[in-house]
């Protein structure tokens, strides 16, 4: 089958790629676009290191033909990393020493982002359930769960501060 052109939204920017049929989103991100934060642990859906968000939902980019995301919104770790400093989830991972070799970290952060977007104050159980599809070979997981808890608090505090300053302005 012939190659075709696929366009999608990557972190707020429209990208256009020419692909053979069944090329995965993971391969397009890493090999065609140079977005290598999305990792390549197994290429068969077993490790979670390739997790990206598609329309806000966590998906394994190694199992996703890029044609399936045509016209959709794809978010990778690059998309959420600010130009200066770190996203609150990244900062929480750093503070909790939740990353050793770092290979699982992009996938863990993306799953955590989807969780916190949907549930800003998750229980311990909810965090553990959200992360079941992601393998970490180094940390023993507890530091990662701790990081997600403190990220939730940081996001919460930031929202409070925003509300506070909006209130100031209103007065």
């Amino acid at each position: 089958m012939a190659s075709r052109i696929v366009t999608f939204d990557l972190g707020g920017r429209e990208v256009e790629v020419m692909v053979r049929p069944m090329t995965t989103l993971q391969s397009v991100l890493r090999n065609q676009l140079g977005f290598t934060a999305t990792k390549d642990g197994c290429r068969q859906g077993g490790c979670g290191s390739c997790t990206v968000l598609v329309n806000g939902q966590p998906m394994l980019s190694c199992l996703l033909p890029v044609e399936d995301v045509a016209g959709q919104r794809v978010t990778t770790l690059e998309s959420i990393t600010p130009a200066e400093g770190l996203h609150p989830i990244q900062q929480a991972f750093l503070d909790a020493h939740a990353s050793q070799c770092g290979y699982c970290t992009p996938g863990m952060v993306m799953v955590s982002k989807a969780l916190l977007d949907h549930d800003p104050a998750p229980t311990d159980d909810a965090i553990r359930h959200a992360l079941t599809g992601n393998i970490c070979r180094c940390t023993g997981y507890r530091p990662i769960v701790t990081a997600v808890h403190s990220a939730a608090e940081a996001v919460h505090d930031a929202a409070d501060a925003m509300r506070g300053s909006a209130g100031e302005r209103a007065r």
Partner: protein, 336 residues
Amino acid sequence: MARLRGTGMAAVNYPTGMNLGGDPSQALIHATTSGSFVVSLSATDLGQGLKTVIGQIAAETLGVEFGEIVVDTADTDTGPHDMGTFASRATHRVGNAVIAAATEARQALLDVASEELEAAVEDLEIDGHGNLMVKGVPSRSVRVADIAALAQFKYGRTIAGRGSYMKPKSIVDPETGAMDPDSTEAHACTVAEVEVDTETGEVTVLSIRSAYEVGRQVNPALVAGQIEGGAWMGMSHALYETTAPYYPAVDHSPRDFSEYLMPGTLEMPIVESVILEMPSSNGPYGVKGLGEMTANSPIPAIVNAIYHATGVRIDELPVTPEKILRGLDAMAHASS
């Protein structure tokens, strides 16, 4: 059918490094024109944090900030020789080599500073923050970075150092069998608590609590991370991981991550540790190797806890539910 609880204990003495046929690590350090120091190594950072601890050791010895150190590892075509990252040897061997290299580089730096400041080398000190001064005379202070630049552009010199650390080959005494295989030993003891479901044979690890004697800690966060990650790996070896569950038959061998079992976030037990620091006599700043030992004592501690809970003594890893149920059956038959 019941859920039975048990507690098990195990201890480990773990050697730092091997003597092989002589086991060297080498390091080279040089200052750049901007005053940062490049540490060149052939040892690899596998994710355990070697670059971090080597940066700390180099900064400490040179007297500059950690951020001024660039650790360049693992091109064995161009780097100084290293036997490699294994046997929990890297922090110990490479750290010692880096101290030697940094000491020589520091001397070269002080030699240039002595000319520039017109003061004897013995009268100079570096404050740990990249300032070099005549002792007790803060007004006669210069930045290490400025001396590094002057060395290259005014004095035409290099600020560099070479370091090597070698564990010599140890021959086994044919009469007694005695030899000196390692450099030092770290120690740990682990207590594990488990719950065993006698209907399904499934084991839940409730807690893994350990005491570790690891020599001087260069980086306590990395030490804690290795211990916690190692507890998980030990639990994983004890209960889940195998490439041949019916060895030597290859039946049911896992082919990928979805079949190769490991504990995930839902299986995490409580992991707690205390750390004792008893510096070694020959490690850099008293370091001992810690990496691999952390996956050791949790394994027999868990297997002993299963024995304590059920009376089933298992001597082959991993302890699958099938092995526990077969053990319980055998016990029931023996008693009837």
